[in-house]
């Protein structure tokens, strides 16, 4: 209790509170801009943490990243450009709802369920940190490989109406992820002599290209104006959010739980958490046919999951100094910089500091409500601006954003190449989401696959050689084979003496 009071004293310092608000606003702006990620927001803050107390330094990172992940939902809803990769899973649902005039509801839900997910993750962080991190610490390449494949199987669920086209899209994404130097031998693969490709296809320019460029191109080719649709009032938005929350509270809880777990596992970031939670909620939904066409259920599941993952990632980061994602990796760096060494002894040596951090986590998530309210008002203004004024500006913003990630014009090539590919794919009924998933998880899956094969001397059965890996492997195989068997069954059935003809497209 003494430590808690000391912690509270650290939090109410003017410096800490000012940092909390300043970093939140900063994270909000960065998250809103497509192409600028939460990681980028945090990275840009590091030089400023030099001049802060340890508590304020961590505050700035926690607040900026939490707000950036929430704010990333806003351009997703308004422009179909996810502000950060973590918002990509449910961007189609958000944008479809905006086209129906429900932008206010989407953003209010994003804010509310981001906060709920974040607070849930924090509570788990406070209560169960040591036990969960201990579990993840035991993991090796075997478990991470299966975890990655399990992540890929989400593609089956987010594939949409056509399973084969969804899987093809996933394969293309995986193929893109293999570009660059091979993990085991350093052999350049699919680079065709281009030195820019040795490091692989830069993900952020690709993401801007795949989500922004087709949208800009389509709008230019076929004129139309989203702004003409009447938008709900902010008051109506919060009321509807409350109603949606009452109806889909299970999705919010499920998203928070899944998000926290995925976030706590090293390698699983906020974006993976959003995908998995979206897919799992769709699988369990009573109205799966509405998904992807502007349904609030997936938005609730995804919004709560990505912010929960952010809190969850701090579990192994604080207790074992293992970063769960890039944000906590930077965070650990800042902790060392401030002379605070994360690890099992952290609660003995710096107890009050970390209780202060926990309080900051809660505050950083609560501040999303006023900022969400602000965002709805900004959104109403943004949507009133004529589309033909915004589109060219977005084009220039996308190009500059693609350049800014690596300070390299090659990023603009990636933007153009993947953007046109995505446009052609969507025109022909191929969903983009599985491709993004393939690009994100491809490297993780391959690296762990190769590591596991090398350590078992090439025995594929060895992938099941550890108990947790075996369980994960069996679950993964089950998840992959059931839809395929069901699909094959529906093809074979009309040939047999089935009483009801299967619908065959």
């Amino acid at each position: 209790m003494d430590k808690f009071i000391t912690a509270l004293d650290l939090v109410v310092q003017p410096e800490t509170l000012a940092t909390l608000i300043g970093a939140s606003l900063f994270g909000f702006c960065i998250g809103c801009l497509p192409g600028l990620t939460a990681t980028m927001a945090v990275a840009l803050l590091v030089p400023m943490t030099f001049f802060m107390s340890p508590v304020a330094a961590i505050t700035s990172i926690v607040a900026a990243s939490a707000m950036a992940i929430f704010a990333g939902d806003i351009p997703g809803a308004l422009l179909r450009m996810p502000g950060t990769p973590a918002s990509a899973a449910y961007v189609d649902d958000s944008y479809e709802m905006t086209k129906r005039g429900e932008a206010g509801l989407v953003i209010a839900s994003n804010a509310a369920f981001s906060a709920i997910g974040g607070i849930f993750g924090t509570v788990v962080l406070i209560l169960a940190a040591p036990a969960l991190a201990d579990f993840a610490l035991d993991f090796s390449a075997f478990e991470f490989f299966w975890l990655g494949v399990l992540g890929l199987s989400c593609a089956v669920f987010v594939a949409g109406d056509n399973l084969v086209k969804g899987l093809t899209s996933l394969m293309l994404g995986l193929l893109i992820s293999t570009v660059g130097m091979d993990y085991t031998t350093g052999h350049p693969r699919f680079t065709f002599g281009n030195v820019n490709l040795l490091e692989g296809v830069s993900f952020i320019p690709g993401l801007i290209g795949m989500f922004a460029l087709p949208e800009i191109l389509r709008s230019l080719l076929t004129p139309g104006n989203v702004g003409a649709i009447a938008q709900v009032t902010p008051r109506g938005a919060w009321r509807k959010t409350w109603e949606a929350g009452k109806r889909y509270w299970g999705q919010a809880v499920g998203g928070s739980v899944l998000g926290t777990i995925v976030g706590a596992l090293p390698g699983g970031g906020a974006d993976t958490a959003a995908w998995i939670s979206y897919a799992a909620a769709k699988k369990m939904s009573k109205e799966p046919d509405k998904w992807g066409k502007g349904h609030i259920e997936g938005i609730i599941a995804g919004s709560s999951a990505n912010n929960a993952a952010l809190s969850g990632a701090w579990i192994p980061a604080i207790v074992f100094a293992i970063p769960g994602d890039t944000i906590t990796a930077i965070g650990i760096g800042v902790l060392y910089l401030k002379g605070v060494n994360p690890g099992p002894t952290v609660f003995i040596n710096n107890g009050e500091l970390f209780y202060a951090v926990f309080i900051i986590f809660i505050l950083a998530n609560l501040i999303m409500f006023p900022l969400g309210w602000l965002a709805i008002h900004i959104a109403r203004v943004v949507l009133r601006i004529p589309r033909d004024l915004i589109l060219p500006a977005l084009l220039v913003l996308s190009v500059t954003g693609a350049y800014a990630i690596d300070n390299d014009l090659f990023g603009v090539w990636i933007l153009l190449g993947l953007g046109l590919t995505a446009y052609l794919m969507e025109e022909n009924g191929f969903p983009i989401a599985p491709m993004v998933l393939g690009i994100v998880l491809g490297e993780i899956v391959e690296q762990n696959f190769m590591q596991a094969l090398i350590s078992t001397n090439g025995s594929v059965l060895g992938l099941f050689g550890r108990p947790i890996a075996a369980v994960l492997g069996i679950v993964t195989i089950f998840v992959w084979t059931v839809p395929l068997l069901r699909w094959g069954w529906s093809r074979l059935r009309p040939a047999g003496a089935a009483p009801v003809a299967a619908t065959d497209d």
């Binding site: 899987l167 052999h187 230019l220 080719l221 033909d388 500059t400």
Partner: protein, 157 residues
């Protein structure tokens, strides 16, 4: 632009074969089946299977329609086509002229060209383009310290 599923299936199969063929040139470690080519081979197999299923599907249902190229949705909309081409031209000029001319000038010209083409009067086009260019420059170059290529303007700031 819409392609028939048969054409797409053929393309996917061809891509799978090409990947598989190209991967054979990757070095392999003697006595090991797992090298840099293994994972791409698995992907190539996946592409082959997906392409084959698509082909099998169309051959059973409607073989003639499956190999057609449909008229694109923007046919009969020349204004839209010009806008699309302008977009491509703008991106390519960022790539090829970015270092020499600078992002600010290319961005400004792109914006003015688009606004005029989309029917805005010249003063509005100039004003909005200047405002957007300044705002983006302020954000990226000044606030975020991104070394945005500025071409001849580099001397000015």
């Amino acid at each position: 632009m819409k392609f028939g599923d048969g054409l797409i299936g053929l393309f996917i199969v061809a891509l799978g074969v090409a990947v598989f063929w190209h991967v054979q040139s990757f070095p392999s470690v003697p006595g090991r089946f797992y090298g840099p080519g293994l994972f791409p081979e698995v992907i190539a197999a996946g592409l082959l299977i997906c392409g084959a299923i698509m082909l099998a599907g169309v051959l059973r249902a409607a073989p003639i329609h499956a190999f057609r190229v449909e008229a694109p949705s923007w046919r009969g909309n020349p204004r839209g086509v010009v806008s699309g081409i302008t977009m491509l031209a703008a991106i390519l000029s960022f790539i090829f002229l970015g270092d020499a001319v600078g992002f600010q000038i290319i961005g400004f010209v792109t914006l003015v060209a688009f606004y005029l083409w989309l029917g805005r009067p010249l003063p509005v086009a100039l004003l909005v383009a200047a405002g957007v260019t300044l705002a983006l420059d302020l954000l990226f170059r000044v606030v975020l310290h991104v070394p945005v290529p500025s071409g001849p303007l580099t001397e000015l700031w």
